[in-house]
């Protein structure tokens, strides 16, 4: 991977920071308030990994159809920036996209390009390929993007989907948020290929790897990749190394599980946290501390406002149980 030496426009750097901060702060809110037992849905936190989806979604400038896993808080917010919908859904309110029926694992805002998250590993991958097919056939100019974990590459459907996307010459973006673990099982205990990035090359796609831990690096990579994918009419595979800071599911940590070393994780990842890095970068771009804080405050206010709205939004009434099993004409 070669880094583009040109610096990004400052507005882009700020945009990326905002997006990272939005995801991080939203999850910090969840961590704090989850014990109140009002968000009664499992939480698979993105914390630490946000830069992957933030970088990719920003690169696609909204023209993405995003498919993601249960771990998709960051992807959802990176694509939609919609904390109203996000918190409404987590709090189980009528104002959520799934009116609370989906919860954290099934975030959806198709109109904004976050189609639907899925809780069954790898199931979202072929759906993205089909969406890519529709985009091609209908000439929408949109790009189907699928986010999944390294665990999803254990599954045959990943290989099938890559094959189909390449066979039908679809510019689908396969983005692996490679945090090295499926729950507590390291990749090496599940997959024999020494490198996924290398293994997929047999499937006529462009394969990229990024272990910078840096949102701008991912952004550049994704921009180049999507451009090439459309030009060459073939899928791109982005393997982005990252680290999940919290436990697999839940809002606490998991050092007591003993499968990974706290000190090592802090040294290798948390110390160069993507959000922190980006904040430092803004400073180096002559953005004043007060200007940065102003940005942060605005986001914090937006989150508080969304939470307040969500808390006051109606809970779906029992009559909604049977509604929406089939498509309801508007």
């Amino acid at each position: 991977m070669t880094l583009d030496p040109e610096p990004l426009p400052k507005t882009t750097s700020i945009q990326l920071f905002k997006s990272l901060f939005l995801a991080r702060r939203s999850e910090e809110y969840i961590v704090k308030h989850y014990p109140e037992n009002l968000m009664r849905t499992p939480m698979h936190m993105s914390m630490g990994q946000e830069f992957v989806s933030v970088g990719v979604c920003a690169a696609l400038e909204g023209k993405a159809d995003v498919f993601a896993s249960y771990r998709s808080h960051a992807a959802f917010l990176a694509q939609t920036h919609d904390t109203d919908l996000f918190f409404s859904e987590l709090y189980g309110r009528s104002s959520g996209t799934g009116e609370g029926k989906g919860g954290s694992m099934h975030l959806a805002s198709p109109g904004q390009g976050h189609i639907l998250s899925s809780g069954v590993v790898a199931t979202q991958i072929p759906v993205a390929v089909g969406a890519g097919f529709a985009n091609m056939r209908l000439g929408t100019g949109r790009t189907a993007v699928v986010f999944f974990g390294d665990g999803a590459a254990d599954a045959g459907v990943f290989w099938e989907s890559l094959n189909v996307a390449a066979l039908y010459r679809l510019p689908v973006m396969f983005v692996c948020e490679d945090n090295g673990y499926a729950v507590d099982t390291p990749r090496e205990a599940r997959q024999v290929p020494a490198s996924l990035t290398e293994a997929v090359k047999a499937f006529v796609c462009d394969s990229y790897e990024d272990d910078s831990g840096d949102v701008e690096s991912v952004y550049r990579l994704a921009r180049g990749a999507v451009e090439k994918a459309h030009r060459e009419r073939r899928p791109a595979f982005l393997n982005v190394k990252c680290c999940r800071y919290l436990e697999h599911v839940g809002t606490g940590d998991d050092w007591h599980w003993g499968y990974r070393d706290k000190a090592a994780v802090e040294r290798e990842w948390i110390s160069r946290d993507a959000l922190l890095q980006q904040r430092v970068r803004l400073a180096s771009l002559q953005m004043s501390e007060s200007a940065i804080v102003a940005v942060e405050d605005e986001i914090d206010r937006a989150i508080r406002a969304s939470v307040a709205k969500a808390s006051q939004a109606p809970i779906p009434g029992p009559e909604r149980l049977y509604a929406g099993v089939f498509h309801e004409k508007a």
Binding site: D65, F67, G96, T97, G98, E99, K101, G102, H106, A108, P110, I115, L116, S118, V120, T123, Q124, I125, P126, V127, A128, V129, G130, A131, G132, F133, A134, N135, R137, L138, T140, A144, G156, V157, E160, S161, N163, V164, L167, A323, G324, V325, F326, H327, E328, K329
Partner: protein
């Protein structure tokens, strides 16, 4: 009116919808081959181009997710499986994704996906090419399930399915492909969720599923000669079910046999029998009887296959027993039998 067979009616429904709506496309393993899924996809590639009628790699799970993705993003896919046994590979997508994509978005998404699955008996199919599994899909909320019996029904119901904004699984018994009928030439819809009385009668109701309606008609003809009047009700759509039609019929006749071409245990015949028993409580002169496959994997050898599969004879015997009639000598009867008509290799 011109006559058309069931396979031709399917082909015509798809071709007309493809003509009408450029978003409709058909795909699946073997779809554009020479044998073209028993002729049901014949010529579609030539007519609409390989982008709208195409073959796929052998990966049913992925190709179902593919259909879902295409459906929610504006196309109207028809995915074809030459055996339901191969659709089993797509169970994950059908049960975990297709069936709840709409609900999880509060009813806002559309999933106009049609999945056609062939069922039925062939030339020593054995355990892996002979399943029906209707109930494994009617059990799942969010899926519509149809199993048309006649050529005119299949054209209209498939048309309705293609136009439906919800996922529909269409089960087609391969022996029906040859059944000819007068079928209107222009496109039309037979609404999903509406059953049909195939033959009115007084003494007993047979609720037949798919091919078993053909067997039921034959049984009814045979019994007619003995003065027994059989009503045949074809639900056509299994989910959502036209319960009223069935219940009204059984209330009138007081007796019911459910004839399925699937295993009985936990089959769709169980659902029918349970509903009818409940809704016709006190009006039944005899318990509802279920007819279906023997509860074994399907054997290959013909002699055991003949024991495995129910047919008109099974229905006749069931009705005789229910009415307390003596078992008639059926030796002279000419059972319409595709075991005889059908030859190998598949």
């Amino acid at each position: 009116m011109r006559k058309l067979d069931y396979a031709g009616a399917i082909r015509e429904a798809m071709a007309q919808e493809m003509e009408r709506d450029p978003r409709v496309f058909v795909y699946g393993i073997g779809v554009p081959t020479w044998s073209s899924i028993f002729g049901t996809t014949k010529g579609l590639t030539e007519q609409f181009g390989p982008e709208r009628c195409f073959d796929t790699p052998i990966c049913e799970d992925t190709m179902t997710g593919f259909g879902l993705g295409a459906a929610i993003r504006g196309l109207r896919p028809i995915h074809v499986h030459i055996r339901v046994d191969f659709m089993i590979l797509a169970t994950n997508q059908l049960l975990n994704m297709v069936s709840n994509y709409i609900y999880s978005t509060g009813g806002k998404l559309k999933v106009p996906l049609v999945v056609r699955a062939v069922v039925g008996r062939g030339w020593g199919q054995g355990a892996q090419h002979s399943k029906s599994l209707f109930s494994n899909f009617t059990h799942i909320p969010g899926l519509k399930v149809i199993a048309p019996t006649t050529a005119s029904d299949v054209k209209g119901m498939l048309t309705a399915a293609i136009r439906d904004d919800n996922p529909v699984i269409c089960f087609e018994h391969r022996w029906l492909y040859w059944a000819e009928e007068e079928v209107p030439e222009e496109p039309y819809e037979v609404p999903l969720g509406v059953g049909r009385i195939l033959r009115p009668g007084r003494d007993v109701t047979v609720v037949g599923l798919s091919w078993m309606n053909v067997e039921a008609r034959l049984a009814a003809d045979i019994l007619y000669k003995r003065g027994v009047s059989v009503e045949i009700v074809d639900p056509r759509t299994l989910a959502p079910l036209d319960e009223d039609l069935i219940v009204e019929s059984v209330k009138r006749t007081g007796r019911c046999i459910v004839a399925d071409c699937d295993w009985v245990e936990s089959g769709f015949s169980a659902e029918l029998a349970a509903r009818i028993s409940e809704k016709c409580f006190g009006r039944l002169k005899a318990p509802v009887k279920r007819i279906g496959f023997a509860h074994t994997p399907c054997p290959t050898v013909r002699e055991l296959e003949n024991e495995f599969y129910p047919n008109a004879r099974t229905i006749v015997r069931g009705i005789e027993e229910m009415l307390g009639l003596e078992a008639a000598n059926l030796d002279g009867e000419d059972f319409f039998s595709h075991e005889r008509r059908f030859r190998g290799p598949f």
